[in-house]
């Protein structure tokens, strides 16, 4: 069975620093079935620890995504779990939005923050803090999440945060990701 010991500790630190969790944002666009709870059979999984023990130096070549990476997942940090699920999936296709939403991962309940994650290889992931329903509250919160993902055992590229808009960068804008170093 996959371990999540490191995930529990790393995201525990994040939660402690960013209390409380928050309800789904009231301004988010609503779609039929957008708070239906996904299940394991629909692709919902808890985040598990990765294999990386020692951080790598920043690779010379940065990944270029050219928009949303195929097969990207949504991630969400709830009070007692870190969940992820594919955005494009049969579950989502059967709902009004045509895709899974972060609120399908929570069943419409509260969460700390959500975003997107693409698995680049078994040791490396790329993340954003982009969610309209469970929004990051600051640049510092994204930093804290980046570190939590890294401490859970992965090399991490992050799309980062734009202080001009006070919002996280997204895959869609196709800018260079930032290497997360601990």
């Amino acid at each position: 069975m996959a371990s999540n010991a490191r995930t529990v500790i790393s995201f525990g630190k994040y939660r402690a620093a960013h209390q409380p969790d928050q309800p789904m944002n009231a301004n988010a666009a609503r779609f039929a079935g957008d708070t239906d709870q996904m299940a394991a059979d629909d692709g919902l999984e808890s985040w598990v620890d990765g294999p990386v023990d020692d951080r790598l130096d920043e690779p010379v070549a940065r990944p270029i995504f050219g928009g949303k990476p195929a097969g990207q997942h949504l991630w969400i940090v709830t009070a007692d779990d870190v969940l992820h699920a594919p955005e494009a999936c049969i579950f989502g296709q059967k709902r009004g939005a045509g895709f899974a939403k972060h609120s399908n991962l929570t069943g419409g309940g509260s969460a700390f923050a959500g975003g997107e994650v693409a698995v680049l290889d078994e040791t490396t992931i790329a993340i954003t803090g982009s969610s309209g329903r469970y929004r990051l509250r600051s640049a510092e919160e994204l930093k804290s999440i980046e570190i939590a993902f890294a401490e859970s055992g992965y090399n991490v590229w992050s799309m980062g945060y734009n202080q001009d808009t006070n919002r996280p960068n997204t895959f869609e804008t196709d800018i260079d990701p930032e290497w997360v170093s601990l």
């Binding site: 944002n25 301004n27 988010a28 666009a29 940065r62 270029i64 050219g66 928009g67 982009s130 969610s131 309209g132 929004r135 600051s138 980062g160 734009n162 202080q163 001009d164 808009t165 006070n166 919002r167 960068n169 997204t170 869609e172 804008t173 196709d174 800018i175 260079d176």
Partner: protein, 472 residues
Amino acid sequence: MTAVSSADLDKVFGADVAGDTTEARAKNSRREFVRGQTMLAEASPEATGHRMAAAEALYNYGFDTLRTAVEKGQAVLVRERAEPARTLTRYRDALGYAREHLARLTKVPVDDIVRAETPGKISSIRTLERLAIPLAIDERYLGVRDQPNGEDLGVRLRELANGQDHQFRLSPTAVAALAEGAWVIARQRSLEAQLKRATFFVRERFEPDGDYGYPTYLNGYRLAAQTRDLLKLDPEAPIESMRALVSDTLDIPLVQTKMGASFAGATIAHGSERGIVVNIDGANQNVWVRRMTLAHELGHLLWDPAEQLNRLTVDRYDDLKVNSPQRRDPVEIRANAFAIALLAPPAAVDRIVQTANDVASAVYEVSRHFGISVSAAQAHVGNVSRVRVVMPRPGQPIEASDEMRATEDFTVDYFPIGNLPPSVVGRFSWVVARALVENLISLDTAAGLLRTTPDKLDRHTLDYILALTGPR
């Protein structure tokens, strides 16, 4: 186009905001949006980007973008990895600017320009906007959408800066002034559209005239008479203020700037907009010369077909003299004849000559009555009345009256905010102040357009600007 639901209007502009239309709701909304390099978001105290009024964000990016920004927390404005780096580089190359030169013009470090021109890198939107303006890029759409024909102006300026003829070679100062002038012209027009000002659309009333045939000066005279007729001006009365005629009656953007000692003015076509740039250095400090410069540029703007304007026509002081031997280009000959005939209609001049005691007295009377220089009047009298004009040795120089000086004043002498570039002082500042008062643009935008800081734009100052620079 789908109608916007009341619920969506509430969500985007606020539930307690009055207004029957999307535009009215936006105008009455106190909500602001903020732009970064690639995204638009709802404004928050922590956001450092360019803050925009709701009406401004709506005008610039459309309702769907605003709704997305509210629903998702932000909306994508720029999806292409190459942008805005590609646009900045192309426009800088078109003007022939080295990065170091642009750095000097904008006070942006070269390293920051390199970063802004590197695809995939994020820069502060304020840095990007500072780089855009001297390149004549509409900063609102930098990276968002193509700006048709924008680079053509830069290419033409570069050609004029590197031309074979040294006399016509534009200095770096003049190139920078004209590029910025083009930006002011385009932004003024856009703000007027936002204000829904009923502007006088020159293109609807003045059909370009391609007749430069011999004798060319007669075509200039003909078009001057036609202009007075179309504008319902008395066929022979003096024009009290060329500034008011251009800026108020014809609603033509008029930009004053510093271009060095040689060049009098320019007519610029930027995108679909045309405007006039007048040098405040050199001989234009004399009000009579300035009136002639304005009339000459007006001749180009009203009557030259687009291909003649070549997106930019720049005139030296020497070219604007009546009977100028400097340039034999029929386009310039016609504009010169237009200018002098518009200011001093030939029939009226001839009548003064016929009734004067002597030719010299007639010249002084023509100068005083029509507000043109004595040397211009001298040449004009000779041309119109076919008389030999010999002037007595000049005694006390004749100067324009204080009244004429006041009516032609561009508010250069005094403006309630110090140290603004001359290009934004004048009607442009009125349009900006008006748009701010009507909540069509944010305080942040207004300050940026006027190159000042928000704290300088208090209500008292805005009222002063509106009174000083508005249509008279």
